[in-house]
């Protein structure tokens, strides 16, 4: 078996500390700070709060700030490489929010203005700029997004699914995060002072960092550092506050050290999450004290200088850690005059030069989502792994929600020749959940929690799932809309902390973790119409190290104002529809049973052979006709013409003779319709037939064959479902 190490071969970054590696290095060496009162947008307060703002960047050509930041970083990371990366993975939480806020504030609803609103549009934009034909995956795990994205890229490379991945994180400042964190009283009016005895909070900031990761048996000439391992965990404790004892932080660090196959004593420097909030710093410190005792390495947080750039943080920190190794530069903990004795930490106060070999970088976020990255010198012992294909996943249970109701009602409705379009009321969605549990939850988290509960019940398993993978195209639209509406109606005086926390895309996955006490990896993917496919793809990449049950969920809510503005497919159907699906999965080990695998994910832009590539991935004409009795096809309404052409080409090249079911015609238009399709495919394969009404007047017998769920449009995806 081929064994590879994963090298950082290119780095690009932009933050309040400067544009590019050279400026950033200079700022860190001189201990400069990039924190000043906000000037990017006018604010209501008499004393604007300090933020970390990137200077000299202006909106051009309707490209939002986050996308611009990402592109600047990506160009630098790719500056020595001519070839396209095999995949792009990005951590993003705000996406085009700053531009969207401007449009909504002005009441400007012209079509096209919101083209770049989604978090997923950043990775797609970068993939387009660098002509990447592979997947463009978006991770939204709040402030750990950038580091979690590195985990996904790392596992993609270790699985041999890519040879080089452009990975990172980007977020621009916006009113949502500026007022949101302030509503939680988490902003230090003096600017962040991580670990200081007088610290009062964080400083919201912005930026981007991109790393080009390359899988190679030995260090390429341009290797800057090596990614040794990444560990993920979830607090499963509270939607916004860290676990008081740092339990999640501790297990993320332990998982990272294990993944890197090193001992904690090998770590020379820790780049702390260290936001400067009272609770974060205390929780992180407690975890460090348990793990390292009195043998703590050098440690510092850069957020007193850079502020906290949210989804970009993990990527920027990793870029800086790689630089600390290659340039022998240990960053100082700007803002900390007197270390808080309660923390028991002694941070590096001023930057200094020292040869460090192995560093640990922490990123923790809302939803209790934690990620720790271990980076080493390319000349070190390294971490070689054998390329290992991801396993198939055994399906233990499933559930869906559509306009018709749950999975049984959905099947009943379509078998009578009716659609399952439309929307259930919030009450119907959460009928089986305790009122206290859902009191603070709006539509999407209720849907996600209901789906998770129903899929787990359907599995009949007594053990709780340890890991949650959640895909959503648009996140909690009700919370986002309510937050911004109240903010703008009150002339920016009032911002709801509950809506802010709920507006974060990974909030529903955090809720599920709290309910199920799921402390394993907890990943939210937000790739538009392919969000569910992304979550299944990521779950399969991580499955080799997950012994317990995993939940993979896709869900979206439709919102009467925002859905039509953001999702052009919604406008192609008169009925507003929403819903989702959930699967309870285990790594497939037995030789029999129902199983699922995400076998194909490619960008269809700049990729003319995408359909023949899909067919060769599935086998050939003969295998496709032998293995699959029917195909569910998802064509988003906004890409109908393109999708139809792709389907025609697929049918021509594959010679497929079985039923083709165009599922959006009966599910309605919503980003996670593919999650419903996956659940239907599983139910049909399990019963061995497609019910009457869906394909002709009689039921169709699959004759023991499996089914394919194919996604078309801007990406082409395939999910295989078989019953062995």
């Amino acid at each position: 078996m081929t064994s590879v190490r994963i090298y950082i071969a290119g780095i690009g970054l932009i933050s309040p500390l400067g544009s590019g590696l050279s400026e950033t290095r200079d700022s860190i060496r001189k201990g400069k700070t990039g924190i000043r009162p906000v000037s990017l947008f006018p604010v209501a307060q008499s004393r604007p709060l300090p933020v970390g703002e990137v200077r000299g960047l202006f909106e051009t050509g309707g490209i939002p700030r986050t996308h611009q930041l990402a592109l600047i970083a990506a160009r630098e990371a790719m500056s020595h490489f001519g070839d396209a990366p095999d995949a792009v993975v990005m951590g993003v939480t705000t996406g085009g929010m700053l531009s969207t806020e401007g449009h909504l504030k002005r009441g400007d609803q012209a079509p096209g203005l919101f083209k770049y609103h989604s978090t997923g549009s950043v990775a797609e934009y970068i993939a387009g700029e660098f002509k990447c034909k592979g997947p463009a995956i978006t991770i939204s795990t709040a402030c750990s997004s950038g580091a979690t994205a590195i985990k996904v890229a790392l596992e993609m490379l270790r699985a041999g699914q890519a040879g080089k991945v452009l990975v990172g994180g980007a977020d621009s400042l916006c009113r949502l995060t500026y007022y949101g964190f302030n509503s939680l009283q988490l902003i230090d009016p003096e600017g962040a002072r991580p670990l200081d005895i007088n610290r009062r909070g964080m400083t919201v900031s912005e930026g981007a960092a991109m790393l080009l990761l390359v899988a190679s048996p030995k260090a390429p000439d341009n290797a800057i550092a090596e990614i040794l391992g990444v560990g993920l965990s979830c607090d499963a404790y509270h939607p916004a506050s860290p676990h008081p004892e740092g339990a999640g932080a501790l297990s993320a660090m332990q998982a990272a050290i294990k993944d890197a196959d090193i001992s904690f004593t090998d770590i020379d420097y820790i780049n702390l999450h260290g936001t400067g909030t009272i609770d974060n710093d205390l929780s992180e410190a407690r975890a460090l004290n348990v793990l390292f005792g009195d043998r703590k390495p050098l440690l510092s947080s850069i957020k007193g200088a850079s502020g906290h750039p949210l989804a970009a943080a993990g990527a920027i920190d990793s870029a800086i850690c790689a630089m600390s190794i290659s340039d022998k530069l240990v960053p100082g903990n700007t803002g900390c005059d007197i270390p808080d004795p309660e923390l028991g930490l002694n941070p590096v106060k001023k930057p200094f030069e020292a040869g460090i070999q192995t560093v640990l970088s922490n990123s923790f976020g809302f939803g209790g989502n934690n990620a720790s990255v271990v980076i080493g010198s390319p000349e070190g012992r390294g971490r070689a792994v054998s390329l290992e294909k991801p396993p198939w996943l055994a399906v233990m249970g499933s559930a869906c929600i559509t306009g018709a109701g749950n999975a049984d009602k959905t099947v009943e409705s379509i078998s009578k020749g009716r659609t399952c379009k439309g929307m259930l009321s919030n009450r119907e969605i959460s009928l089986d959940l305790p009122v206290r549990t859902v009191r603070r939850l709006k539509r999407l988290p209720r849907m996600a929690l209901s789906l998770a509960t129903a899929a787990h019940e359907n599995s009949g398993l007594s053990d709780m799932p340890s890991s949650i993978f959640f895909g959503t195209g648009w996140g909690g639209l009700s919370e986002t809309y309510d937050f911004l509406s109240r903010l703008f109606e009150s002339d920016e005086r009032f911002a709801s902390p509950t809506d802010f926390i709920g507006s974060v895309h990974n909030a529903p996955a955090g809720q599920i973790a709290i309910q199920f006490k799921s402390t394993g990896p907890n990943i939210t993917t937000t790739g538009g119409d392919y969000s569910f496919e992304q979550s299944l793809f990521v779950a399969s990449l991580l499955a080799k190290n997950i012994e317990d049950t995993m939940l993979v969920i896709g869900a979206d809510e439709s919102h009467e104002v925002l859905s039509g503005l953001f999702d052009r497919s919604v406008l192609t159907d008169r009925t507003l529809s929403n819903g989702g699906g959930a699967l309870c999965l285990k790594r497939a080990e037995k030789s029999s049973g129902l199983r699922i695998f995400p076998s194909f994910f490619e960008n269809s832009e700049n990729n003319p052979p995408v359909i023949s590539s899909l067919i060769s991935k599935l086998g050939d004409q003969e295998r496709i006709n032998e293995e699959y009795g029917a195909i569910l096809v998802g064509i988003p309404g906004a890409h109908r013409e393109k999708g139809q052409k792709q389907l025609d080409e697929f049918l021509y090249l594959s010679g497929f003779r079985g039923p083709i079911i165009d599922y959006r015609t009966f599910t309605g238009e919503f980003a996670s319709a593919s999650a419903v399709a996956a659940v239907l495919a599983l139910r049909f394969v399990q019963t061995g037939e497609i019910p009457e009404g869906l394909y002709g007047k009689k039921s169709f017998h699959l004759k023991g064959k499996g089914m394919l769920a194919v996604g078309l449009g801007n990406f082409v995806t395939a999910i295989e479902v078989i019953n062995l």
Binding site: H238, A240, R440, F494, P497, T498
Partner: protein
Amino acid sequence: MQKLLEELKVKIIETLNFEDITPDNIDEEDQLVGGELGIDSIDILELVMMIEKDYSVKIDNQELGAKVFANLKALAGYIYEKSPEI
């Protein structure tokens, strides 16, 4: 004062979306945070916003918050003392 107490009970139920309790279920002497209602720090911040909006009373630091939100009686007392609208 009694009127304010009754009014606050209704507003707390509304603001925090308690579907399963009525104003009679809230005892003004019971601790608010971590008590039977399961009110946590986010709820408190949501109430901070409501109180600023409806009574023009600001509660903008944690030390003050801990005192004011000890129980409903303390909260009503603080609003009664500070609000220009009462």
